[in-house]
């Protein structure tokens, strides 16, 4: 049981409606499913496949390509420590070493209380603020070992609940296209010359 619930199924159909082809909504729907359940299950994959008109194998093939999709439970907080050049130059190796010691798990592991999963990550687009890490993809800049300990303490004690939602939730604001304002998807199967182009007048 981890199909999308009723509210999310309605939202999924609305998202599909924005694309000229339903299958384009695969990744956004997988995110929605992960937001609901924390990770992706076979049932979830099958439901997304139903919704976008693909086979489960096709959706699984897509899902496994992308790093953000998890196929087994991860901690409430996913801590990604960047190890690419700018961060490496400024102490990412030491930071990872410290994190592994503090949390008591190796990179890739989850703490027994299910609170933290630690991962080695690639460039996080914050290179001037190295070394960086992300908690559920929220950036923490210029990390030190002291700042890391403080961060873990804050997360444990719920002091960052307002800023960092549990793993799975990405943006807390979604795009909504009002029906009366929508131009509608441009289908390749029913080509229309854009009304504002000179070709339309011919």
């Amino acid at each position: 049981m981890s199909r999308l619930n009723e509210a999310n199924t309605i939202l999924a159909k609305e998202i599909i409606g924005r694309y000229p082809k339903a299958r384009s909504a695969t990744i956004p729907l997988l995110h929605l499913s992960q937001q609901q359940n924390g990770h992706l299950t076979n049932d979830a994959i099958a439901h997304v496949a139903e919704l976008v008109g693909a086979t489960s194998a096709e959706v699984l093939g897509t899902a496994t390509f992308y790093e953000m999709f998890k196929f087994e439970p991860v901690g409430k907080y996913l801590i990604n420590i960047c190890g690419t050049m700018s961060c490496q130059l400024l102490g990412a190796d030491e930071l990872m070493h410290h994190a592994e010691h503090t949390l008591g798990v190796k990179a890739g592991g989850t703490t027994p209380d299910g609170l933290f999963t630690l991962e080695h990550a690639e460039c996080q687009a914050a290179c001037t603020e190295a070394p960086n890490l992300q908690v559920n993809y929220r950036h923490c800049h210029r990390m030190t070992t002291t700042a890391f300990d403080q961060l873990v303490d804050d997360l444990r004690n719920g002091r960052l609940d307002g800023e960092i939602p549990p793993h799975g939730t990405l943006a807390r604001v979604r795009q909504t296209i009002p029906a009366d304002r929508a131009a509608g998807p441009a289908s390749p199967d029913a080509p229309v010359v854009p009304a504002w182009m000179p070709e339309a007048a011919q």
Binding site: R18, Y19, K21, R23, S24, T26, I27, P28, H31, E58, T62, F65, Y66, E67, M68, F69, N80, G83, T84, M85, S86, Q88, L89, G91, A92, E122, C123, Q124, A125, A126, C127, T128, E129, A130, Q134, N136, Y137, H139, L170, A171, Q175, T176, I177, P178, D180, R181, A182, A183, G184, P185, A186, P188, P191, V192, V193, P194, A195, M197, P198, E199
Partner: protein, 462 residues
């Protein structure tokens, strides 16, 4: 010279002309209200008052070079679509993940309306029926800011049906990535947007302008490229080309990171600013940390061959940098001082590209992994003398022939200019080899020192 807590990394000196970062000093620069108060959507209005062909000509006249890496002029790219074939799509590449690159995320978080306005201008000029804003999944704040801005823009009549009461109608759809560097390659981006694995397509025949999303003509442009358009349409091509040089007009966002005193994201004048200005200038990075010596720097993102202090006086201009053996890429400079453990620094990049290979082409999938393993044992002091030749040999399978590198007076090396030959569909494979080749060519002695000592040189903390 000011920094702002809400725009981590951005450094503003108030003197240089600003095209894309003019609202970064405002804490609420991302809201529609502030955008309106600072000239927002005036570029769109100016565009809609002219014919699409006219607007396209204006963009062509300004030679807006693509800011994603390849540096292809946007106006020329739009002109490559087969005439009369519709629908056409615009896919905006916000999948910023090239090592060292930090600018598109700031543009999306700090000035989302500018990006939206740019997309609208492009859609109007090139007859694009739908816009997809593909934002990297690991950037939730960018999603929230762009999502909110789109909701505001729809409500205000800037996006959607009959924009500002005209017959121009287009939807902008915010699309989520899910973590894959290779998706930054334009054909992989399209595959991903079709709901598939992000594996690049062969070019030819799949040039997106001809055969792109759903097989239709598709323009793929970078976030920074799009963000230039509102200013361009408000101020005109003449004002745009008055900044920078004839071959590289306007400004560019550049992130300088690593061992400098003041790492930061700077909007610089295109084509004239030199690497020495950027690394040592008072208005930029102010020198190497602790006044250490500069050892090497990466001039254009993790995929670019490395430069030495010999190249400091080159300007930030793509043709000159190409002739000198590297590329400007995505505007990312990573600086290494004399304490840097070169094999280990190169390893961090090899690891990146090996991990991010999509697995489609054998030279990249297998070669990248081998490069990483051998580099790992060399960096750890477990390598052998044969390893260095082995690395270069694997590189020959990915990029046969001469590979570009910088000139060095110390080593008596002459520059080998860009580009190179490759046996893979996209640039991920060659990029895995780039740092290996640069490190061995320019710092072979450091590898050999590790082989003899058979132990790792500890990374300095300062």
């Amino acid at each position: 010279m000011t920094t702002y807590p809400w725009a981590a990394g951005y450094v503003d000196d108030g003197d240089r002309p600003k095209i894309v970062t003019s609202r970064f000093h405002l804490a609420d620069g991302y809201t529609l209200e502030r955008y309106h108060a600072t000239g927002g959507y005036e570029g769109l209005k100016a565009a809609l008052a002219r014919t699409p062909g006219d607007v396209h000509e204006e963009v062509k006249a300004a030679t807006v070079l693509g800011r994603g890496g390849a540096g292809f002029p946007a106006g020329t790219k739009w002109g490559l679509m087969p005439p009369g074939k519709f629908p056409r799509y615009l896919v905006v590449n916000g999948d910023e993940s090239e090592p060292g690159t930090y600018k598109d995320r700031l543009l999306m978080e700090r000035d989302p309306h500018q990006l939206i306005e740019g997309c609208l201008i492009a859609a109007y000029a090139a007859g694009l029926s739908q816009v997809f804003l593909y934002i990297r999944g690991e950037m939730p704040l960018a999603h929230e800011r762009v999502g909110t801005a789109l909701n505001e823009a729809y409500a205000a009549g800037y996006v959607g049906k009959h924009i500002l009461g005209t017959n121009f109608s287009v939807d902008i759809v915010l699309h989520w990535g899910a973590g894959a560097y290779v998706v930054g390659e334009e054909t992989a981006l399209i595959e991903s947007l079709e709901g598939k694995r992000g594996e690049p397509r062969l070019k030819p025949p799949f040039f997106p302008a001809a055969i792109g999303l759903y097989g239709q003509p598709t323009i793929v442009n970078n976030v920074e490229t799009m963000s230039n358009l509102p200013w361009l349409l408000s101020n005109g091509a003449a004002a745009y080309t008055a900044i920078g040089t004839a071959t590289s007009p306007g400004t560019r966002m550049v992130a300088v990171s690593g061992h400098v005193k003041r790492p930061g994201v700077y909007e610089i004048i295109n084509g004239t600013t030199t690497f020495r200005d950027l690394l040592y200038g008072d208005e930029f990075c102010q020198g190497i940390r602790n006044d250490n010596e500069l050892k090497a720097f990466v001039p254009g993102g993790g995929s670019a061959p490395w430069f030495l202090p010999d190249q400091l006086d080159l300007p930030f201009e793509s043709r000159l940098v190409g002739a000198a053996g590297s590329m400007l890429g995505s505007g990312a400079i990573m600086v290494m001082d004399h304490t840097t453990d070169i094999p280990r620094a190169a390893l961090s990049l090899v690891h990146f590209y090996a991990a991010e290979s999509c697995g489609q082409c054998t030279p990249c999938r297998e070669g990248g992994t081998w490069l990483e393993r051998i580099m790992q044992r060399l960096a750890d002091g477990r390598g052998s003398h044969g390893d260095l030749d082995q690395l270069l040999d694997i590189g020959q399978s990915i990029c046969p022939g001469v590979f570009p590198h910088a000139a060095s007076e110390r080593l008596g090396l002459e520059a080998k200019p860009f580009p190179f030959k490759m046996t893979t569909i996209c640039f991920v494979g060659p990029s895995a080899y780039t740092s290996v080749h640069s490190a061995i060519t320019l710092f072979r002695d450091e590898f050999e020192a590790k082989i003899i000592e058979r132990k790792s040189i500890p990374v300095s903390a300062s």
